[in-house]
Amino acid sequence: MPAEAAVLQDLHQDIKQIGTGYEERFGFAMPDRSIVKTEQGLTRETVLAISEAKNEPEWIRRFRLRSLELFQRLPMPSWGGNLSQLRFDDMTYYAKPTEGSSRSWDELPEEIKRTYERLGVPEAERKFLAGVGAQYDSEMVYHNIRQDMEKKGVLFSDVETAVREHPDIVKRFFGTIVPPDDNKFAALNSAVWSGGSFVYVPPGVHVDIPLQAYFRVNSQAFGQFERTLIIADEGSFVHYIEGCTAPVFSKDSLHSAVVEIIALKNARIRYSTVQNWSSNMYNLVTKRAFAYENAVMEWVDGNIGSKVTMKYPAIFLMGEGARGEVLSIAFAGKGQEQDTGAKIFHFASNTSSVVTSKSISKDGGTASYRGMVKMEAGLHNIKSKVECDALILDETSKSNTYPVMDIRSEDASMEHEAKVSKISEDQLFYLMSRGLTEEEAAVMIVNGFIDPLVKELPMEYAVELNRLIELEMEGSVG
């Protein structure tokens, strides 16, 4: 065997360890002690049972029932990840873990509290965050915001509370950014939604340190359907972070969220996601933001886990001077499909957008960039730049790029670059000639590949992502 093949084969062995450590660190499960749980499968009765458990207003109940009909009527997507094994009838759609949400970790049932401690959520809250929401199966069991932020008028709660306490704001925006008929999974979410965060930042208020929501699925063959609604009023700023994990089960689960974001005039919102679902999770999410005059919307989207992810954070640039940015990192390992990307719609003049996507595929994983940039006719001074880099670590893995550009305005500049690369033998030899082992050299190259994006993540997540990659590349050498 030529020495080159031997090197590459060694490398395959090194990086074969995807998912190592997940089970211990994130993949554990606690006993199921749900106090309300719907029966398996989804019917009108399921939806009514959820509505009743929540004791919600009539308009929400009608919204759900309408959405259920849409869900039943709308077709499955004919493109994207492989959903042929997804069994809607096998899922449980609602599980309520506790009676109401708490503002103190100590008030939570021991096992739930222990779950979040093991995941490091309370510690992160003390160190870096202005507020935390923690969802366990279907409900936000914990929600808290620092008093100084509360005094400035920042609202941060679960969506159900917002429906009760701020119906005027909720009614104005809820379901308007992502309408239920947008796609089958948006309809599904709208029918059975539960939990998620509501954020409202008053005019001119800057939430200097991030708010975070942590989504945890504990039950088996379970569907989690939170909705998140964030409104940044004129001239305000907020950085919202979400993280998610689940136990490793043999049966598949489903996470189908809807995220609606409104950045009003001169506001700026950064929304960062570190998706680290277990390998039995279908992650089919609709995320969209409207950015008005001179507003800035930034999606930072990291996808590491899940079985199949289909997620294309969208930005509608609605007002002049609005700017949108999507930074996307995907890691597709064994049995994983990361079908991710971005959608940018330029609806106003003097708007600009940047999409930067980096993916790594290995061990038979498939990472696809799927993106759309649309510029309406009659606008002027529109700029967009899309850059996709893929790193493929072995022969069995795949990377695809599906860019769509629909440019109708004549005064527009559109740049698109796509690059696929492999870890080169020259790079490995170079680093090893300085004393690095082959494994460390490979990790250094992979970490370097995503570094420009990781830098955009909050510190603790950046460290976590680097650690995860080290863990996943950890090998059999030595």
Partner: protein, 256 residues
């Protein structure tokens, strides 16, 4: 026996034989020059010494300070004190120069005691090589000019302080100022505990480095060895002039 010793080496790229009956000895504390026409095996020798996985050693022995290098992989050879300054250094996007240098400094025999010791050392090396300090925040070799890449190799040389260094045409494509800096870097390392093989086509680097011996590699083996007069002869009469000497000086130097 202190120094690098190459005995009867037959080696090549994958199954193709490029070097044969190659003998060379670089004693401790000496810097030797290796010259020779293109395509006759100079870079192959550099790669074989460093242990590039695509290069095969079919027979012979290579040892450093009496210890064989043959069973060691690339990184083990590096940690034994072998260093290769590349003709075409690889680009490693996303890895900053400072992070990389800190990591490799920690891998050398006497690593810096702490981060501040490393920084002091780094600042001295940067000043010595006339490299702008902002350089260390750039990604390793990524988008570097040819000259910057070569300076980066010399910066790594000073950081790693190897036992034995191979310079593979480090002078190619350098302007006079950069050439002086590269030579100063090599000369700074000179002394007991360091030896080197300087692969080059040109006299201008050797004028600054002043090698202790000069070898001509032709058709896969050392065709002639001698002192600086070989460089002068080469410049005057080309390789044809050197060929007339072949076989005589070689044995004498090898035996020393």
């Amino acid at each position: 026996m202190k120094g690098l010793r190459i005995d009867n080496v037959q080696a090549g790229l994958e199954s193709k034989v490029i070097l044969s009956d190659l003998n060379l000895y670089v004693p401790d504390g000496e810097v030797h020059a290796l010259m020779g026409p293109n395509g006759h095996g100079k870079s192959t020798l550099a790669n074989v010494l460093m242990g590039h996985p695509r290069y095969q050693l079919f027979k012979g022995a290579i040892s450093l300070d009496g210890e064989s290098l043959l069973d060691l992989d690339v990184s083990e050879r590096a940690r034994r004190g072998l260093f290769l300054a590349f003709q075409y250094p690889a680009e490693i996007p996303g890895v900053t120069v400072s992070k990389f240098l800190k990591r490799i400094a920690d891998l050398r025999k006497d690593p810096p005691k702490n981060a501040s010791a490393f920084l002091t050392e780094l600042k001295q090396n940067l000043a010595f090589l006339e490299i702008d300090p902002s350089f260390v925040n750039r990604y390793l070799n990524d988008g570097f000019s040819g000259g910057e890449k070569k300076r980066m190799e010399i910066l790594q040389l000073l950081t790693l302080k190897p036992r034995f260094a191979i310079f593979d045409e480090t002078d190619s494509g350098l302007d006079v100022d950069a050439l002086k800096i590269v030579a100063a870097g090599i000369n700074k390392m000179r002394g007991p505990g360091f030896s080197a093989l300087v692969i080059t086509h040109y006299r201008r680097l050797l004028d600054l480095v002043k090698p202790d011996a000069v070898h001509i590699l032709e058709r896969g083996h050392i065709a002639a060895s001698g002192g600086f007069e070989l460089v002068e002869l080469l410049e005057k009469d080309g390789y044809e002039g050197v060929r007339r000497l072949s076989g005589t000086v070689k044995e004498a130097v090898y035996a020393s």
